[in-house]
Structure formats: structure tokens, C-alpha cells
Amino acid sequence: MKAVVVRNLSYVYPDGTKALEGVNIEIEKGEKVAIVGPNGAGKTTLLLHLNGIIRNKNVEIFGKNIENMSREEIVKNIGIVFQDPDDQLFMPTVFDDVAFGPINLGFDKEEVKRRVEKALSMVGLLNSINKCPHHLSFGEKKKASLAAVLSIEPKILVLDEPTANLDPKSRAELIDVIKKLNESGVTILIATHDINALPEIADRVYVLNKKIIAEGSPREIFSNTKLLKENNLEVPEIFKLFEVLRCFGYNCDELPLSIDEAIEHLTKTVETEGGHIHLHIHEHTHDDIEKVKRKYNHHL
């Protein structure tokens, strides 16, 4: 079943700037999908359409046109975590904020408390339940704003730059929560610049630059040099490293995208090549490396 269908969606800002032009997106139930694209590509604007904050009739949620859904029905189905946690946390305490959604949906006191505790323990913030948002660190604020949407237990979770500006630990924790949610059946849509996290948080990627430029698995997108260059996109460092290793004669058809894939690939190679890895320098090695370097230097 399709969780989200966007058909031919266009949007022009009041000042006349085109934000979106004929965007088409389809997301299956249970999928995890990322939207990447340069700054100002319209990612946030697109997300605002998905829960009817910007009214439109081109979006369907679980087969139902969003125009015909009540606010309550939309909120139950699709939860959005916005980019700036100070916009997202508007209540006096963390508890009140996480309870805001469930209370609006009319759950009784016990159910609200159960949901708040569940959501906060999921992001590891149960200890800060009575703090006021002003006293939280940026990473904690990010987690709290995720919890505030999780307490609604939406079927589709939309995240705008969830890992931006986070320290490595908070970032890893947040990615972990997202993965766990997806495993429990929540459909995930993420707008992000965090290319290194992409292989973990997305099965499929849309490249958006006012319109949908490309769609495919992370590997397909990262292998398309021209596409990357035209849209100011990067590839994961691991991906680059193995492309360099290939110049040294490492045998690798499918470049790994994450540490896990790299470990798997290296183990396999060591096992098949009799206990070690063979690298060497040929005449053309240096030229090949130069080519790889040039390929990923956008400003050159």
C-alpha cells in the first residue's frame, strides 16, 4: 500500500519565486526514503504540503486525498519534526510539550502519560521530563522535539534535517532511533544533507531541486557523478576511500557505502584472496587517483 503519493505538485511563493515544479513522489508503507538537494531546493516547502499545512489537493496519504481529511486524521497519520527545535518545543516543560499532541487527540490522562513516558524513554530523555526547554542542550532539544511527535504514534514520520548540527554521539543516537522506528513499521521520510548517514537511514533517495531530478537507491544516486555535480551533492567518505583503493588495484565492483558494508567487503576479499589484501602501484595509479580527486571536488 502507498503511504504517501504526491502528484504533479507545484508551489509558488507569494513573492513569485518558484519553489516546487511538478513534483511526483510515491512512498510505500514501511519504506524509509530520503530527500536530498541543495539549499533552497524546496525540501521544507515540500514537507509542509505533506500534512496539509500548505493546503493542496495533490497529496494522498494512505490512498486518501489530504483535502478530504480532518486535521485530527492527518495528525494521527503523519507526524513532522521540523528543523529548528525551538520552533517545535513551544510548551513550558518537556512533559507538556510531549503531551501536547496526545492531549489534542483526546486521549485520557493515563494514556497521555503512558505515551509521554514511552516517547521520552525511546529518545533517552526521561530524566529531563520536568525541565523547561530553555535548559536543554541543542541535542536534547532535537531529541525532545522528536519525542513530541513520537507520542502521537504517527504511521508516517517526516523529519527535516534530523542530524544537522548534532555532536557525533547525539547524531548516532538519533539515527538509531529512526532505524528502530522503521523496523517497527513506521514509514520514514527524511530531508537531509547528511550524506554519510544516508545509506543507514534510507532505502531510496529522491534528489530534489525544485523538481525531482532523480530517484533511486543510495548506490545508484552516488554512482551518478554528473547528477552529483549538478546538484552540489557529496558521496560518503567510505565510498570515496574505496574508489581510491580501487586505483591501487583493490578488486571492488560495488563500492561500500557504510562502515558495515566496508567491513563485509574487506572480510570477503581477504577470505577469497588467501588471507591478505593485495594493493600495488602501477604507472596509471597516480592518474587514476587524480581523476577520483577531481571527480569529487565540485569547485574545481
Binding site: 499545512i53 495528525v75 529548528d84 510548551m91 501536547f100 499532541g101 487527540l105 520536568n130 523547561c132
Partner: protein
């Protein structure tokens, strides 16, 4: 560092007033405050003042914290006292070579003592609970919803805006701006404040979007676990009785 207006900085202390039920506290203290500002007699006002000091002592709030805010009120009422003492018509008395009005001194003192006694009570009232509890108590006391929401958002975002303004000032200073008392400085600060308004407006829009995304319908409800017990009723009755008593005395 910026100083935040944290009225609930000492909400975690332990005193009889910290344990007082927030709703009962607000109702009884407000009754007492209104009663104090309506006192017609200086002796009674002095008695109320003593009672306020006693309540403040009960709250265990650090005096330095209270005086930091109370000094502005004091300075304000003292200026009124001075003006009244110098200008009020009626019987005169002289202090060295200055001619003072007796009635002026009397009503000036009455006004000053009433004002200080009443404002002093604000601290044991809202300084002894977290501000979110104050807001929840007001909500449960059926204060109009839009008023409660305004208070709630003000309290949440005053810190965010203070930070934002501070960041702007830092940015200006790091580009060589020095605050002086000249027209240029005022113009620059004026523009910065204007910018803050624009930023606030844009933030308000994003906050509203976030609220809608979580099912906001215009009537936020909240959950609070307040329980009134015999002790709360007793304390509230005592304070309200004192408030009435102040007006029964002749």
C-alpha cells in the same frame, strides 16, 4: 552572560509555601494583595507590611534575589513619596529649610508601604513554584484561555528572544560596533530591535505550523497533578482571613 528573568529560580527549595497547592496559593495571595493595596490606614499598612515580611521569611527565598527586583519598585514609590511630601496641600512642617506637607508625608508613606508590602508578596506567591505550575494553576482556575496561552508563550520564548538579541549584539560588537550615547548607536540598536521583530514574526509562523502539525485546535489543554489537602485549605483560609481582618480593624 545575559541575565534571564528567571522568577522561578528558587522553585526547588523546600518550605511550607513551596508545598502549598498552586491554585490555593494564587487565590489566597491575590486576595491578600488586593486587600493590602486598599488599606486606608497607615498603622494597618504597617501591620500588613510586617505580615508580608513574615510570609517572605517563610518562603526561604534568598533576600538578595527578592531585593534585586524589589529595589525598582522601592525607587519608584520613594519618588512618589518625595513628590507628595513636597507638594501636597495642607498643614506644613519644616525639615531644616525644606517645607514639607504633613498630609503629604502621611499619604506618601501609606502608598509606599502598601505598594512594597503588596509587591513583596508576589515573590512568595510565584517564586515558590515552577512557572509552568503557575500557568497550569491559572488554567485550572479558569482564567481565560487566550490569556493563559499568551503568558505561556511569553515565558517560553522570552529566553529564545533574549538569546537571539544577545547573538545579534555579539555579532555587531565583533564587527567593531561600540555602544555609545550618540545618534548612530541608537539608530543601530533600533534597527537590531526591528530585526528582532521580523525574526519573531517569522518564528511565530513556524511555531504555529508546528502546533498545527500536532493537532492544535485553539484550546490547548494541559495535565496537572495538583491535590488540595487539609493543610492547603487551612493555610489558604488563614491568609484570606487575614486579608479580611485588615479591613475590619478600626
Amino acid at each position: 552572560m545575559i541575565e534571564y528573568p528567571e522568577i522561578d529560580r528558587y522553585a526547588d527549595l523546600d518550605s511550607i509555601l513551596h508545598k502549598f497547592d498552586p491554585r490555593a496559593k494564587i487565590v489566597s495571595f491575590l486576595t491578600l494583595i488586593f486587600s493590602i493595596v486598599l488599606i486606608p490606614d497607615l498603622k494597618v499598612a504597617l501591620m500588613a507590611f510586617t505580615f508580608s515580611v513574615f510570609i517572605l521569611a517563610l518562603s526561604k527565598l534568598p533576600l538578595s534575589f527578592v531585593f534585586k527586583y524589589l529595589k525598582w519598585v522601592t525607587m519608584f514609590v520613594l519618588s512618589i513619596f518625595t513628590i507628595l511630601a513636597l507638594t501636597f496641600p495642607g498643614e506644613k512642617t519644616s525639615f531644616y529649610f525644606i517645607s514639607l506637607s504633613k498630609d503629604g508625608i502621611y499619604s506618601g508613606a501609606l502608598i509606599s508601604i502598601r505598594a512594597i508590602a503588596a509587591t513583596m508578596l508576589v515573590f512568595p506567591m510565584i517564586g515558590t513554584m515552577r512557572f509552568d505550575e503557575t500557568i497550569k494553576a491559572l488554567y485550572m482556575l479558569r482564567i481565560p484561555n487566550s490569556l493563559v496561552q499568551m503568558l505561556m508563550f511569553t515565558y517560553r520564548y522570552i529566553f529564545v528572544f533574549a538569546d537571539e538579541f544577545h547573538r545579534m549584539l555579539t555579532a555587531m560588537e565583533s564587527k567593531g560596533f561600540k555602544l555609545k550615547t550618540n545618534l548612530y548607536s541608537f539608530a543601530v540598536i533600533g534597527r537590531a530591535i526591528g530585526m528582532l521583530f521580523v525574526k519573531s514574526y517569522e518564528r511565530a509562523e513556524r511555531v504555529y505550523q508546528a502546533m498545527l502539525s500536532r493537532g492544535y485546535t485553539g484550546n490547548p489543554k494541559t495535565i496537572a497533578d495538583f491535590k488540595m489537602d487539609a493543610k492547603d485549605f487551612f493555610l489558604a483560609t488563614l491568609i484570606i482571613f487575614f486579608a479580611i481582618f485588615l479591613h475590619l480593624m478600626k
